[in-house]
Symmetry: C2
Subunit: 302 residues, 2 copies
Amino acid sequence: MTAICLVGIGKIAVDQHVPAIGGSADWELAATVSRAGSVDGVQSFTDFDQMLSERPDIPVISLCLPPVPRYDYAAKAIAAGRHVMLEKPPGATLAEVYALADMAHAAGVSLYTTWHSRMAKGVAPAKAWLADKTVTGVHICWKEDVRRWHPGQDWVFAPGGMGVFDPGSNALSIITEILPMPIHLRSAELFFPENRDTPIAAHMQWTQNVTGDFDWRQEGPQSWDITVETTTGTLSLHDGGARLLIDGNEVAAGADREYPALYDRMAELVKTNASEVDLSPMLHVADALTLGKRNVVAAFHF
Amino acid sequence: MTAICLVGIGKIAVDQHVPAIGGSADWELAATVSRAGSVDGVQSFTDFDQMLSERPDIPVISLCLPPVPRYDYAAKAIAAGRHVMLEKPPGATLAEVYALADMAHAAGVSLYTTWHSRMAKGVAPAKAWLADKTVTGVHICWKEDVRRWHPGQDWVFAPGGMGVFDPGSNALSIITEILPMPIHLRSAELFFPENRDTPIAAHMQWTQNVTGDFDWRQEGPQSWDITVETTTGTLSLHDGGARLLIDGNEVAAGADREYPALYDRMAELVKTNASEVDLSPMLHVADALTLGKRNVVAAFHF
């Protein structure tokens, strides 16, 4: 087993990363770094530099803190010769992730920009089915309740927090993986709460008749659906990619293994001394914030 | 001489492209496409498809219309087997320019994302001088009067028009060319007129102590200055890169040859069947619009 350090013990770490590492034969959770959080039975640090200097035996660092502070941790980890795994989105800017990729390459360590939704059960079979199809239209409906998934997390509405594109990048990570053709944004309507710096909702229109509705104000049932029309049938993904239907028939479903699959992939990257850096979902977010029309909506309070 | 077609006969075409082509031994201006503008003595079209079908003898298309409509023209030109030259910024989104690059590569034609300020007289010697220096700080001061340079051009304030980053990308194209180290944005303050969709001013803070002030409300003298402090001296570029001073001594100056140099470069790319696609200035703009804090300022009217 390889020792790994988890940095940023917040909701996503507790819900997903800790169980995924705990259930893996590849990894041993050897330390955590967090201002407040910790994991029972695991050495905890509050200072990252101290962890790097006291635990040279830990070769891999997984960063699940918010995107804005993430670069500094990743740069320090790479400079200390550690392999690095980044929660999505991999950074607050595109330029900083390209810089990390160059640094990792120069240092000979692995860098992995994870996109957990790509590991959802339906995604690989959806990609395989679409590979030889002609797509005539795509619709994304990605509507969830920010209070439920990011309770009190003001950083999602601060500059760089990306707002509704934080969950929205999950949908973008799926379509950039499964569609057999490239797309680019034609227009977007963005909805900013009057007291916040990032959008709480967005309507998007890409080329190739690809559209998306993203909303963070959805109470009750949550929607994470993608429908792809082709000249020879209709494919749909539900539950964030976990369920796949083709022409209404259930093709794939199953227990959530998204995060365990990310850690499997990281083990493989480290073993083969490789990196995986894909910024395409984040590129579409940057394009939306560049090209989108800004509308102001009601103030949002947690 | 190679026949070239100029698309979008607006201010920048008349001020720069037409004289640059006219003064070149490589190029013959064989046609124009524009809704309203034309060039005396040159066949003029209003319909791009018609020009493509009636003038198969014109192998090169130079696009100087605004960024939002540019992709469709570029894609059609490439599909018709023509080489393409793009005014800056090369598109309204990053994804569309990456798509054009892939299309050009597949079609075996040249694509050139021009950045005219990189051809300013002081830029190449600045880059050469900085190559072995340790930079301790950079300041960009880019302040001009939008009414003077974009009179009545509402598209600069429409979504995708990029606002003050339209001229600002000139400064970004210079620093991404001359600095010997990569940078990425740390924070930005953006100032949006209450009646417009793009910023009229911005304060930027990158890594490596690189800062920038961009403003489109500057009346009187115009400022296009970049100062680079190093451990062994100070370099400064003025007049948009045309003048270079090192430790206060004038090193380079001269007549503006930016656009003629772009057309020289395009001739070379076509001759060698090569492309030049560099999106780094646009990447920094996308990062600013992703990470920047939005402030609302007074309405702007031309």
